[in-house]
C-alpha cells in the first residue's frame, strides 16, 4: 500500500530544555483540552520525575511507513498528521516510532498524534504546549537556529544522579 510521505520540511520544532522542566504537566493539560480530550503529549518517567515527550516531526517518519491504512500523512509544512476518520487504533505507529512519543493508550479507540497545533501555527501562533509551559522549558524554535544549539539544548544537561551538583 502506498504511503503518503510528503517532501515538506519542518521549519520550526518544539524543543525541551531539560534544565527548566519542572514536570508540572501543564503542557499535557493544554494539549488535552486543545485537542478535545485527546492528549498528544506523553511522559517519560525518569529517576527525578516526569518529562514530556513530544513528537519530533521526523523528516522520514516511521509512523507513516508503519500505518496500514494511510491514516498518517506528512503535510507540506513538514508536520505529520493523523486522520481521525481513517485511524483504526491498531497501534502500528506506536510500535514503529523510534522515540516512543506516541502514547500506547487509545483515546476513542484511536491513537493520538501530535500535529503541532496546526490550527494555531498556520495563523502564526505557537503550539499549545509551548504556550502553556510555565517555566519556559518548551520552546518553538526555528530549525536553522537549532543546528548549532540543539545538541547542547537537548542533551547537554541530562538529569543525572547527583541532582544538586549538576545545577
Amino acid at each position: 500500500m502506498d504511503q503518503q510521505v510528503g517532501t515538506g520540511k519542518i521549519e520550526q520544532r518544539v524543543v525541551l530544555n531539560l534544565d527548566r522542566c519542572i514536570s508540572c504537566r501543564s503542557c499535557s493539560a493544554a494539549c488535552f483540552y486543545g485537542h478535545r480530550g485527546m492528549p498528544n503529549v506523553t511522559f517519560g518517567v525518569i529517576e527525578e520525575g516526569t518529562l514530556p515527550l513530544i513528537c519530533r516531526q521526523c523528516e522520514e517518519p516511521a509512523c507513516v511507513d508503519g500505518c496500514p491504512v494511510n491514516a498518517l500523512r506528512k503535510e507540506e509544512n513538514g508536520v505529520t498528521v493523523r486522520s481521525r476518520m481513517l485511524c483504526i487504533g491498531c497501534m502500528s505507529c506506536v510500535i514503529a516510532c523510534p522515540f516512543g512519543v506516541m502514547s500506547p493508550s487509545l483515546t476513542l479507540r484511536q491513537v493520538a498524534k501530535c500535529d503541532y497545533c496546526t490550527d494555531l501555527i498556520s495563523e502564526g501562533g505557537i503550539p499549545r504546549c509551548v504556550s502553556a509551559c510555565p517555566s519556559g522549558a518548551l520552546e518553538f524554535r526555528r530549525c536553522d537556529e537549532l543546528s548549532e544549539g540543539a545538541p547542547l539544548l537537548l542533551s547537554g544537561r541530562m538529569v543525572g544522579k547527583n541532582q544538586f551538583k549538576r545545577r
Binding site: 519542572i22 501543564s26 509551559c133 510555565p134 517555566s135 544538586f164
Partner: protein
C-alpha cells in the same frame, strides 16, 4: 463562527493568574493564553488553570436539581424540589438545628451576602466558611507574625530566596520567576527546605534536608540560629541543638543558608504549608515570620485557594467558627439539616470521620457545580455556578482586591450563590438577598495573638486537632501512614527512618526480631524494610513512615497535581531474612 473572549483570575492557587477563555458558538470553550504583565512568559496556564475551561462545559456537571423524594427533575418537579429544600432549611432553623458550610473560594460579595442571609433571615445554629486547613493554619500563623509580607515581584530583586516546601510543585506558575531569578546572577541563591525533596529541591542551589514531619522544628532552629526571639510565640522554646537533632538538619548548611539570607537586604522567604490543619503548621508560619524578621527577609505566602485570605479575614471578623469545629458539631449530632455550599466534605475528610459527619443528619442539602461524594450522599442537590461564572472580587493576603469577571453563563439550572439563595428565599417567603460591598479592613498581619503556643502542640495535641489523620484498618494489621503519623507520640519516640514498626506480641507471633528484613506490601507494591520492635506500637498494627520517598510505593497516592492524596491500603508483611545484618 462567532467567538468571544472573557478574562478573569484563576482561584486555584494564591497567584491568581489571569485566565481567558474563548467561547465559541454552541458552547465550545477553549482556554486562551493571556499576554499580560501578570502572566509569566507568553502567559501560560498551569494544569489547574486549564480546568477552568474544561469545567465550564463539562459533560458531568450538575445542571439540574435532584431529590430523593421528588421524582423527576424538570417542570413541576423542579419547583417541588426547591420548595422541599426551602422548607427543610426553615424547619431546621426554627429548631436551631441548621448547619451551614460555605465555600470560601467564591467572590467575597457572594459569601458575604450568603452569611448575612443565613444570620438574619434564616438564623443558622452553626455557620462556617470552609477554606483548606493548611490555608487556615497559614493565616493564623501570619496573623500573629511581625514579618513583612511581599508579592511575587520581590523575587526578581532578591539575591537569596528560601523556599519552604515544594513551591514549584504547588505553584508551578512561579517557575519562570524562580528560574529567571537563578539565571539572573551567579550570586543568586535558591535554598530549598522540603522534607519531601520535591521539584523545588531539584532546582535549588542548596538544600536544607530535614526529616519528614519536622519542618516546624527546622524553621524554629533556623529562626533561633538567626537570633530570633521565639518566646513571644511559644512557651518553653527548645534548645537549638535539640531541634537540629530532631529534624536532622545539618548545622553548617543551615548557617551558610542563614548567612546568605542575612547578607541580602531583599531576601525573600517563599512559604507553603504541609497539608492539614494543626498547631504545628501555625507555629511553622509564626516561626517563619520570626526568621524573616531576624534575617531582614520578607515573606511571600503561597496558599491553596485564591479566595482563602479574604474568606478567612471575613470569617474572623464575623467571629464564625472554623471548619474543624463545625465538623465536630455535626459529628455530635447538633444539626438535623445540613446545607453544604460548594464544598465536598466527604471527598476531603478521612472516610471514617466523614461518615460520622452526616450520620445523624435527617436532611443533607448540597449546592454544587460538579458531582462529588457529598452530592451522592445528599437528599437534595441544587446546581450552582462555578466561581468563574460569577462577578465580584476576592481579597488577597494584603487586603487588596482581585476583580473577577464571569466567563460565561452557568449551564442548565445552575445559578450563582446569591441567585440560588434568592430562589430559596422566594420559596420560603423570606427577604431576598443582595450583594453589597464588603469592608472588613483587617490586614492579616495586624491581628493580635490571643495566647502563646505551647509545646504540647508539637505532639499528640496537634495530631488530635488535625482531622486529616489517615488510618486504615486491615484484616490483620493496621497501617498508620501519612504526614501526621510523625506527630504521634509513639512514632516520635522511635528514630524516623525506613523501618516498619510492630508490637512485640506481633513480633513473637510472626517470629520476628529487631532489624529482620521484611517485605511490606500494600496496594500491589512492596518495599523492603527492617523491623523495629516497639511496645508503643498498638497490637495488630504496623507503622511505617509515610510521605517519604522510601515508602511512597506503598501508598496509592499521586503527586502530578501537587497535592498528596493517600488512600488507605491493605498491609501484608512477609519475612525475607531473619539475620540482623
Amino acid at each position: 463562527m462567532s467567538s468571544e473572549n472573557q478574562t478573569t483570575r484563576c482561584l486555584y492557587c494564591s497567584l491568581a493568574c489571569p485566565v481567558s477563555v474563548k467561547q465559541r458558538a454552541r458552547g465550545i470553550v477553549e482556554p486562551e493564553y493571556v499576554n499580560s504583565t501578570d502572566a509569566p512568559g507568553p502567559g501560560g496556564l498551569c494544569y489547574r488553570g486549564h480546568y477552568v475551561a474544561a469545567l465550564m462545559a463539562h459533560p458531568k456537571r450538575v445542571v439540574e436539581s435532584r431529590s430523593k423524594t421528588v421524582f423527576g427533575t424538570s417542570g413541576g418537579a423542579y419547583e417541588l424540589i426547591l420548595s422541599e429544600a426551602a422548607g427543610a432549611l426553615q424547619n431546621a432553623a426554627k429548631d436551631n438545628k441548621l448547619g451551614v458550610l460555605l465555600s470560601g473560594n467564591l467572590p467575597i460579595q457572594e459569601i458575604s451576602a450568603a452569611v448575612r442571609f443565613f444570620q438574619e433571615a434564616l438564623p443558622a445554629l452553626h455557620l462556617s466558611i470552609y477554606i483548606p486547613p493548611s490555608d487556615e493554619a497559614m493565616f493564623e500563623g501570619l496573623a500573629h507574625s511581625r514579618a513583612a509580607l511581599t508579592d511575587r515581584s520581590a523575587i526578581g530583586g532578591a539575591q537569596s530566596i528560601l523556599a519552604i516546601g515544594d513551591v514549584l510543585g504547588t505553584h508551578p506558575m512561579l517557575a519562570r520567576d524562580l528560574l529567571g531569578f537563578k539565571e539572573s546572577s551567579r550570586r543568586a541563591q535558591l535554598i530549598s527546605l522540603d522534607a519531601l525533596k520535591g521539584r523545588t529541591m531539584r532546582f535549588a542551589n542548596s538544600a536544607l534536608s530535614v526529616n519528614a514531619g519536622t519542618e516546624t522544628k527546622a524553621i524554629m532552629a533556623l529562626a533561633l540560629m538567626a537570633g530570633a526571639d521565639l518566646e513571644n510565640l511559644c512557651e518553653d522554646v527548645p534548645k537549638i541543638d535539640d531541634l537540629l537533632n530532631a529534624c536532622g538538619l545539618d548545622r553548617s548548611v543551615a548557617e551558610k543558608s542563614l548567612e546568605a539570607l542575612k547578607q541580602d537586604s531583599n531576601s525573600v522567604i517563599l512559604l507553603t504549608m504541609p497539608q492539614g490543619r494543626s498547631r504545628q503548621n501555625e507555629i511553622l508560619t509564626g516561626a517563619a515570620g520570626e526568621l524573616a524578621v531576624a534575617t531582614g527577609s520578607k515573606i511571600l505566602p503561597l496558599y491553596c485557594y485564591g479566595g482563602s485570605a479574604g474568606a478567612f479575614a471575613l470569617s474572623r471578623s464575623l467571629n464564625l467558627s472554623d471548619a474543624t469545629a463545625w465538623f465536630d458539631a455535626a459529628v455530635n449530632g447538633e444539626f438535623s439539616t445540613i446545607f453544604v455550599v460548594g464544598v465536598d466534605p466527604l471527598g476531603v475528610l478521612p472516610a471514617d470521620y466523614a461518615s460520622q459527619v452526616f450520620e445523624k443528619v435527617n436532611k443533607l442539602i448540597v449546592a454544587s457545580s460538579m458531582p462529588s461524594a457529598t452530592t451522592e450522599r445528599a437528599d437534595i442537590v441544587l446546581p450552582m455556578a462555578f466561581w468563574f461564572e460569577m462577578d465580584g472580587e476576592v481579597i488577597d493576603y494584603k487586603g487588596q482586591s482581585i476583580p473577577l469577571n464571569k466567563l460565561g453563563e452557568p449551564c442548565g439550572a445552575a445559578q450563582t450563590l446569591v441567585g440560588l439563595l434568592n430562589t430559596l428565599a422566594q420559596k420560603a417567603g423570606l427577604d431576598s438577598v443582595s450583594k453589597t460591598n464588603v469592608e472588613f479592613g483587617m490586614p492579616l498581619a495586624k491581628m493580635p495573638l490571643d495566647e502563646k503556643y505551647t509545646l504540647e502542640s508539637f505532639s499528640t495535641t496537634g495530631a488530635q486537632e488535625d482531622t486529616f489523620i489517615v488510618l486504615s484498618r486491615t484484616e490483620n494489621l493496621d497501617l498508620y501512614d501519612g504526614w501526621v503519623s510523625r506527630q504521634l507520640d509513639w512514632v516520635l519516640t522511635i528514630e524516623p527512618g525506613p523501618v516498619v514498626m510492630i508490637n512485640p506480641e506481633d513480633a513473637v507471633r510472626l517470629k520476628l526480631q529487631d532489624k529482620n528484613l521484611v517485605s511490606l506490601s500494600s496496594d500491589g507494591n512492596s518495599v523492603k524494610m527492617r523491623v523495629r520492635i516497639n511496645d508503643a506500637v498498638p497490637s495488630q498494627t504496623v507503622a511505617v513512615s509515610g510521605t517519604i520517598p522510601d515508602t511512597s510505593d506503598l501508598f496509592d497516592w499521586y503527586w502530578d497535581n501537587g497535592i498528596i492524596e493517600i488512600r488507605p491500603g491493605r498491609a501484608q508483611l512477609s519475612v525475607l531474612a531473619r539475620e540482623n545484618k
